[in-house]
C-alpha cells in the first residue's frame, strides 16, 4: 500500500514539476546571493557557508510543506486516504517520503555545487552532503506535523513557518555544526551521530503526530 502512495505522489510531482523546481531554484538563488553580496573574501565565506546552506534548506522546505496535504484536501482525496484500510501512520510515511524525494533530495544533490562557491574543501563538502541527507528528512517529518495542523486554514503558510521553524533548531545546530567542525579540522562525527538520532526520533514519532493532527483537521 505504501508504494501506491509514494508512486502516486511521485507521478503527481512529476506532472507538476514546476512546484518542485521552484523550491530548488529558491534554494540555489538564496545560497548564491551570499557570495555575490559579500564579495570574494574566502575566509569569511567559508565560515558562514554551513549556516547559509542550512538556513536556505530550512526556508526552501517551508515552500513545499504547504502543498503536502493541501492539494489532497482540496480535491477530496485526503478523505479517501484517511479511510483506506491501512494505518494512517503508513499513509503519512508514504506522503512524507515522496515529499522528501521530490523536494529535499534535489537540494541535497545540488548542495555540493553551491558549497564550491564558498570555497569549501572536498572533505567538508562530503560532510555537508551527509549532514543534509540525515537532516532534511527531519525537516519533512516535523514539517508534516505543521502542514497537518494548519490544514484548511487561511494563512496556513505563515502559520506553518511559525509552528515549524522553531522545531527545526536542533537540526540546524547539529547539521551546520557538523559542517563547521569539518571546516575547522575537527571531527564532525559526534554531531553527525546526534543528527542521526534526531532523524530516527522524528521518523518514529512525527508520522504518528501528523496522523493525529490530520484526523483533527478533517473532522
Amino acid at each position: 500500500m505504501l508504494r501506491w502512495i509514494v508512486w502516486r505522489d511521485l507521478i503527481l510531482a512529476w506532472r507538476r514539476r514546476a512546484d518542485a523546481l521552484s523550491t530548488l531554484f529558491f534554494f540555489v538563488i538564496v545560497v548564491s546571493l551570499f557570495p555575490l553580496g559579500i564579495g570574494p573574501e574566502t575566509e569569511l565565506l567559508r565560515s558562514i557557508a554551513p549556516g547559509v546552506v542550512w538556513v536556505a534548506a530550512l526556508l526552501a522546505s517551508m515552500l513545499s510543506l504547504g502543498r503536502l496535504f493541501a492539494n489532497d484536501h482540496q480535491d477530496g482525496t485526503l478523505e479517501q486516504l484517511l479511510l483506506t484500510p491501512q494505518p494512517l501512520y503508513l499513509v503519512v510515511l508514504g506522503k512524507v517520503v515522496a515529499q522528501w524525494l521530490t523536494s529535499e533530495l534535489p537540494l541535497v544533490c545540488i548542495a555540493p555545487l553551491l558549497g564550491v562557491q564558498f570555497g569549501l574543501s572536498n572533505e567538508t563538502l562530503k560532510i555537508l552532503v551527509i549532514s543534509l541527507v540525515l537532516g532534511t528528512p527531519v525537516l519533512s517529518f516535523i514539517g508534516s506535523i505543521g502542514a497537518a495542523l494548519t490544514l484548511g486554514l487561511k494563512s496556513s503558510s505563515v502559520l506553518i513557518s511559525i509552528l515549524v521553524l522553531p522545531l527545526y533548531v536542533p537540526v540546524l545546530i547539529f547539521g551546520a555544526g557538523a559542517v563547521e567542525a569539518s571546516i575547522m579540522g575537527l571531527s564532525p562525527s559526534s554531531l553527525i551521530y546526534l543528527l542521526s538520532s534526531v532523524t530516527v526520533l522524528s521518523l518514529i514519532f512525527a508520522p504518528w503526530a501528523t496522523a493525529a493532527a490530520l484526523r483533527i483537521s478533517i473532522e
Binding site: M1, W4, I5, W7, R8, I11, L12, R15, R16, Q74, D75, G76, T77, E79, Q80, L81, L83, T84, P85, Q86, P87, R215, E219
Partner: protein
C-alpha cells in the same frame, strides 16, 4: 463521519473507534468532493484508488469498470480535462470495483445525468442483492426496488 456529535456508531456490534482500520476494510465512502486527482488520467485515478484500498485491479477489470460508468475511450485523458459529471463518474467507478460491504454515499447523484443516475441505482441494487449495505444521502430522486430499501425523510 467518524466521530458522531452524539451517540455512537457500531459496526457488527463493536464501536468503530475500537475497530479502526478493520472497519475501513468494509467501508467505501463517496463524498461531496469526488476525490479525483486532476493530474492523473482516468485510468490512473482508478488504479491508485484500488491499490490504496488493497484491491488487485487488472487492466481488463479497470477498463470494464470505466466502460460501465460511461467513460470508455477516456482512459488516458487527464482528469482535469473532464467535466464535473465525468469526474464524479471516475469516482463512481470505484464502487463498481470495490468489494466492501458498507457503502456510505453522500450526495452521490450531484452533477450526474439521467442515465448515470439510473446506473447508480442499478449499482446500488446489485450491491444490495449481493448482501451489501448502502447508506445514501440524497436530495434527488433515486428509484430503488422497494423490497430491499428503507427511506428516511429528514425534515426540519
Amino acid at each position: 463521519m467518524l466521530s458522531p456529535s452524539e451517540g455512537r456508531i457500531n459496526w457488527q456490534g463493536a464501536n468503530i473507534h475500537s475497530l479502526g482500520e478493520e472497519y475501513f476494510t468494509q467501508l467505501t465512502y463517496f463524498g461531496h468532493r469526488p476525490g479525483v486527482k486532476d493530474e492523473l488520467t482516468t485510468f490512473e485515478n482508478l488504479r491508485v484508488a484500488a491499490g490504496l484500498s488493497g484491491i488487485a485491479l487488472s487492466t481488463q477489470k479497470a477498463a470494464e469498470a470505466l466502460q460501465k460508468v460511461g467513460l470508455a475511450g477516456r482512459e488516458s485523458v487527464p482528469a482535469r480535462l473532464l467535466s464535473e459529471g465525468q469526474r464524479r463518474r471516475v469516482s463512481l467507478a470505484r464502487l463498481a470495483i470495490c468489494t466492501t460491504k458498507l457503502w456510505l454515499l453522500d450526495e452521490v447523484l450531484t452533477a450526474l445525468d439521467k442515465t448515470a443516475i439510473a446506473f447508480v441505482g442499478s449499482l446500488i441494487e446489485e450491491h444490495l442483492a449481493q448482501g451489501g449495505m448502502a447508506i445514501v444521502a440524497t436530495h434527488q430522486d433515486l428509484e430503488l426496488s422497494r423490497g430491499l430499501t428503507q427511506r428516511l425523510e429528514l425534515t426540519k
